[in-house]
Amino acid sequence: MIHLYALLDAAAEVPPVQGLDDAQVEARRVDGVTAVVSALTRPVEASAQAAVRHGSVVDAVAARNDAVLPARFGTAFADEDALAAAVVSRSDELRTRLEHVRGCVELGVRARWDAEPAGETAEPPTTGREYLRARYARYARARELADRVHPPLAELSRDTRRVDGLATGGSVRAAYLVPDDAVDAFRARVEALERAHPGITLVCTGPWPPYSFATLGERHR
């Protein structure tokens, strides 16, 4: 089997690192796209260590290339032909996506209120109406949080993804695709937002390779 770590453009440089099961990571060039792969003698191991190893290969590749599409962990092909066929079938979209993320990193932001709203800690709702009211209040607070935090950060980003939040009404998580030269300004703005809004805590993580922006459109075979 062949495990896929990331997809790069044709001129990409693949560093000599070791991947899952310490196998050598290699480049396969197909239709204007470079696939970063390693051979696997067994199915992908479902462990946190293996997921972290996958991530460190993607990091090593991202350190040397300015356009990287990380592959989801667990992406494997029966043989070289299956890999080539899969890349060819999406190569136009892959090249477009590579241009979209070129020169950018992903920054993650988690936002939450420091305290629950008044009444939230009272008795759990006993009627359907109370339940819905509490649920709506949580939604409204998450909405308010997102409205304060998201637009100023989106301004500095090429693209954004709301990871979750509004549906659960808790903390809000989002991912931002930020040009390399705007990362410092982005972090400074996160700090400024936190100062400007007492009661809100913001956590900024990254830079990450652009995992959240590597997803292709849905396609059914």
Partner: protein, 63 residues
Amino acid sequence: VSVVERSPYERVSLVELVDRVLNSGVVLTGDITLSVADVDLVYVGLRVLLSSVATLEELEEGR
């Protein structure tokens, strides 16, 4: 993988990393070999990993 040396800040990053590699990234065509149960297994492993890091830190603080 020397995960035990990570600081609390890096622990947050570890969770964020595993979330990303499992739930986002390119999927080409029917090529995902991990089942839903496998994904759960990775999260269980992550929790064990994080709790062992926490235990280690407590032990070190108690020295």
